[in-house]
Symmetry: C2
DNA sequence: TTAATATACAACCTAATGGTTGTATATGAA
DNA sequence: TTCATATACAACCATTAGGTTGTATATTAA
């Protein structure tokens, strides 16, 4: 499976998009099923335009897509991009795990040198 | 294993902290092994104070900790918090997967109603 | 055709972010 | 003790983010 290499800018946008509770909620709702912009706007205690901006940020990060249906736009969550974010975090974990492995190796070496003086 | 419930503010801070390439690099380096504030500051093309601020943001998000050693502060990455972020993304994935499961169930029901007319 | 609805988008405001420089303080080395 | 190093932190500045209101444009319903 080929996984896209995200640029620093894209990664910035991805995590930035997730760093807002309203946007995280929109992602959850749109992963659960398609909703229109109006339905989303009606769910939050802020103006229609404010919700529109959040939707634009999420779209820019690739976390959602909009699909025209007559005069309305249906918003759909994109699980692929969530996966990309998970991969990024996995890479951090691997860095740490690699370090732990090196420490384990050092310990084994010590044991060896004790066993063969 | 008990996993801490993060507040919305904490989640905001966590993803916000990850939404900057310099900070992500600091996290990587400090997961690889302890480094001092000076060492970090020397690695980026910006002022000491700017790097200090990035370190403060990461500390506020729980992604790193500082440990005094004489006059220097050693910075250490915190894999626990990476794990918390992973859990959050997993929750998004589960929302989507739950939806897929429901769709599968619907399909099965259709098949059944075809089989028993 | 006219009215209502769904969306888009510009202009504006305030607060937060990411950077700067300058100054203060603690610790270690000579 | 004196000097150099490591860190902290305040004050400032430009840009971005998150909100607002107001206006324009499609599309559907009457």
């Amino acid at each position: 499976m080929v996984v896209y290499e995200l640029s620093d800018d894209e990664v910035d946008r991805l995590f930035r998009a997730l760093a807002d509770r309203t946007r995280r909620d929109i992602v959850r709702r749109t992963l659960l099923g398609e909703v229109t912009v109006s339905q989303l706007a009606g769910s939050y205690d802020m103006s229609f335009a404010a919700v529109q901006k959040h939707i634009a940020v999420l779209e820019g990060a690739g976390l959602i897509t909009k699909h025209p249906h007559g005069r309305e736009r249906r918003v759909r969550g994109n699980p692929e991009t969530i996966r990309l974010a998970q991969n990024l975090l996995d890479q951090f974990e691997q860095v740490w795990r690699a370090r732990m492995d090196r420490l384990d190796d050092l310990l084994s070496d010590d044991q060896l040198s004790n066993e063969t003086p």
